[in-house]
């Protein structure tokens, strides 16, 4: 059984919303990103999503773009990221997912990439710029299946009926619902139409629903209780790191407190 399913079953039993936290591998530097990943795991995340930095991240807003630039500048090559992933998955009792852009996969070789992810004990992949329509040419879904990786489908409020149906057919693990029209980044409030959108998504998907983009506070997560199965927190963590770096505080501590606070 894929670790993602095990985790979801566990969450269902205790009837609580899961937390997936996100980091850019190699940000702010390789050593600290390893420490940060361990903190996210220890502080009570249910899943971690680790992003391989890419030069042109089109689905990301300023925060994650900046983090990606910093990581690349500080030597986060794909080889380095794989080393970090190795250490993190050995440490992690929770499912580890990898987020990246498709050119990273393609450049590595689609099958080789999937094979490597499997051998590193990665449970799922999140790749926002490879729609299922290109499967005939890319065979990405095929190789994810072959190596028991869940290729998480990403949908948005812009997704039409046809798109939801098409994605539902291929979806595995959970479906990643982008909370609003836009790229990653925090906002003070969640989109008021979110609830309608999520109930619409439920008509098409029988698997659990994860909500991401713009979630930065405990109130946001609380408001998703019973409406979604997993809340995804990304840019907000990087914002915390940037803020404490500016004040020259220990950002490892800051992140730990932030996660504990958002969770309880």
């Amino acid at each position: 059984m894929n670790k993602i399913d095990q985790k979801i079953n566990g969450l269902k039993k205790c009837n609580r919303i899961g937390l997936m936290t996100h980091l850019v591998l190699g940000y702010p530097n390789p050593m600290d990103s390893l420490k940060l990943a361990k903190i996210l795991i220890d502080a009570g995340s249910d899943f971690v999503e680790l992003q391989i930095p890419f030069s042109d991240p089109i689905a990301d807003g300023p925060t994650i773009m900046h983090a990606s630039e910093v990581a690349l500048r500080n030597g986060a090559t794909v080889t380095k990221c794989l080393e970090l992933l190795q250490k993190i998955t050995v440490y992690s009792p929770i499912p580890v997912l990898v987020m990246c852009y498709y050119n990273t996969v393609f450049s590595f070789g689609v099958e080789e990439f999937c094979h490597r992810m499997k051998s590193l004990n990665i449970s799922g992949l999140i790749v926002p710029d490879i729609p299922v329509d290109e499967e005939k040419n890319e065979k990405f879904v095929h190789f994810c299946l072959k190596y028991d990786l869940y290729l998480i489908r990403v949908i948005s409020p812009a997704s039409s009926k046809q798109r939801l149906t098409l994605n539902a057919k291929r979806a595995k693990g959970f479906v990643y619902c982008i909370s609003r029209f836009g790229v990653t980044g925090t906002k003070s409030t969640l989109d008021p139409t979110l609830q309608n959108y999520l109930s619409n998504v439920k008509k098409y998907f029988s698997i659990p629903i994860a909500v991401g983009f713009g979630i930065s506070k405990k109130e946001h997560i609380d408001s998703l209780q019973n409406k979604a199965d997993i809340a995804i927190v990304g840019s907000a963590i990087i914002d915390q790191i940037e803020k404490s770096r500016n004040y020259r505080q220990n950002y490892l501590d800051t992140v730990k407190k932030f996660i504990i606070n958002i969770k309880h």
């Binding site: 030069s55 042109d56 089109i58 997704s159 029209f181």
Partner: protein
């Protein structure tokens, strides 16, 4: 509609944009069959943009180079100074059909930005243009004109701060505002259907060349030369001739400062297959697939990717590729200005730089057509720099001093 050219092309877009791309494709399929649409498009090209653009025999250059006969297709005589207005008019009509209120665009040289701002003014769209900070600095006059036309110009400060970053910024804006916004993409690249739509709109250039040359020479050319950034001006002039095997098609890439990685924007010198900015094609990239830095004296060719159909036709050996250096481009620019009275854009001067090499080795009965995709007004700063023009520099210095003096003399409380 076909979204692939061999292995290239496709629609590698995030889910947020797929419905908008599908809507654009649908709208275009209907428009293409609609006589009224075609009529309106053509009447704008002729009645507003100034088509047909002239095909001019370059008598002096032909004699000087002593080989093949050279003709220039002068797209610089379009209202906005380059070929870009053609696909902007086409896409603006599509945006109107889709009920969009706002147009966004990326621009490198500023020519596509000016053309988008122009159609926005004409048709009443709100307009935002993204432009890398590096390009804002080197094409400052076009920034000014975009603003005069009512567009908001947003300098892009991330990445390499050039054209590809402007494309990224525009894509992000589109993801955020897709409900009321059309992304008026400016070349034959990006996710399907952009490469096809822009090629179709631009293909009028090649058809005009065929009929103009037929009147003057009674036949097709032997060679056609065009510079290639994304490929819109090249596909515009090539498309009509692709099936005519006797016509050799030559694309000219930006060789920049030399062959070293990072010093040029010649995709066929070190580029490989990748998927970036929504399409599969040849890209200059590092071993991990991160986009590589590029350099070109011309902002419009300073881009790491190339249109998918162009890459396909290269593989099929239908288009041959060469590259020329910044220095050769400046020389070509001077030669054309001095001897033919045509001031070309630095992008177009790349095509001229190659004809200077090609014409002398061809027989006198051969005919070459060169696409002058735009005129060079916008490049006044770059060219003055490259030529180290002292008088122009003095003028700029005085102008700045004068402006400062005016500023100081103006009563403070009246400033708004």
């Amino acid at each position: 509609m076909k979204g692939r050219f061999g292995i290239y092309g496709g629609r590698y877009a995030p889910e947020m944009l797929i419905p908008a791309l599908e809507e654009l494709e649908e709208t275009y399929i209907h428009a293409k069959k609609d006589k009224r649409f075609q009529k309106e498009f053509l009447s704008l090209l002729y009645g507003f943009s100034g088509r047909p653009t002239p095909l001019t025999f370059a008598k002096n250059l032909t004699v000087m180079l002593g080989g093949a006969k050279i003709y220039f297709k002068n797209e610089g005589l379009n209202i906005t100074g380059a070929h870009k207005i053609t696909h902007c008019l086409g896409q603006a009509l599509l945006a109107k059909r889709m009920g969009k209120k706002r147009l966004i665009a990326e621009t490198g040289a500023g020519q596509h930005g000016v053309a988008t701002a122009t159609v926005s003014a004409k048709f009443g769209f709100e307009c935002t243009v993204y432009m890398g900070e590096v390009d804002v600095a080197r094409q400052r006059s076009n920034v000014f004109w975009m603003q005069q036309l009512g567009a908001k110009v947003i300098p892009v400060s991330f990445g390499s701060r050039t054209l590809k970053d402007a494309v990224n910024a525009a894509l992000k804006d589109w993801i955020t505002n897709v409900k009321d916004t059309h992304y008026l993409l400016g070349s034959t690249l990006g996710p399907h259907p952009f490469p096809t739509i822009n090629r179709d709109f631009q293909s009028i250039v090649g058809r005009e060349v065929a009929s103009q040359l037929n009147k003057m020479e009674g036949r097709d050319p032997d060679y056609i030369i065009a510079c290639v950034g994304g490929g819109s001006n090249a596909m515009g002039i090539f498309s009509h001739f692709i099936k005519k095997k006797g016509v050799a098609l030559i694309g000219v890439e930006a060789g920049g400062k030399g062959k070293r990685f990072g010093m040029h924007a010649a995709r066929f010198n070190g580029g490989r297959v990748g998927i970036i900015e929504g399409y599969k094609s040849i890209f200059l990239q590092d071993k991990d697939g991160n986009v590589a830095p590029t350099h070109s004296i011309s902002a419009g060719l300073d881009y790491p990717g190339i249109g998918p159909e162009v890459a396909y036709l290269k593989d099929k050996q239908r288009i041959t590729f060469v590259s020329v250096t910044d220095r050769e481009v400046v020389d070509a620019f001077r030669l054309l200005s001095r001897n033919e009275g045509i001031i070309p854009a630095l992008e177009s001067a790349h095509a001229v730089a190659h004809v200077i090499k090609l014409a002398p080795i061809l027989a006198k009965d051969k005919i070459i057509v060169v696409n002058i995709s735009g005129r060079g007004d916008k490049d006044i700063f770059t060219i003055a720099d490259a030529l180290k023009d002292k008088e122009w520099n003095e003028f700029l210095e005085n102008k700045v001093k004068e402006n400062k003096k005016h500023e100081q003399n103006r009563p403070k409380n009246k400033r708004t």
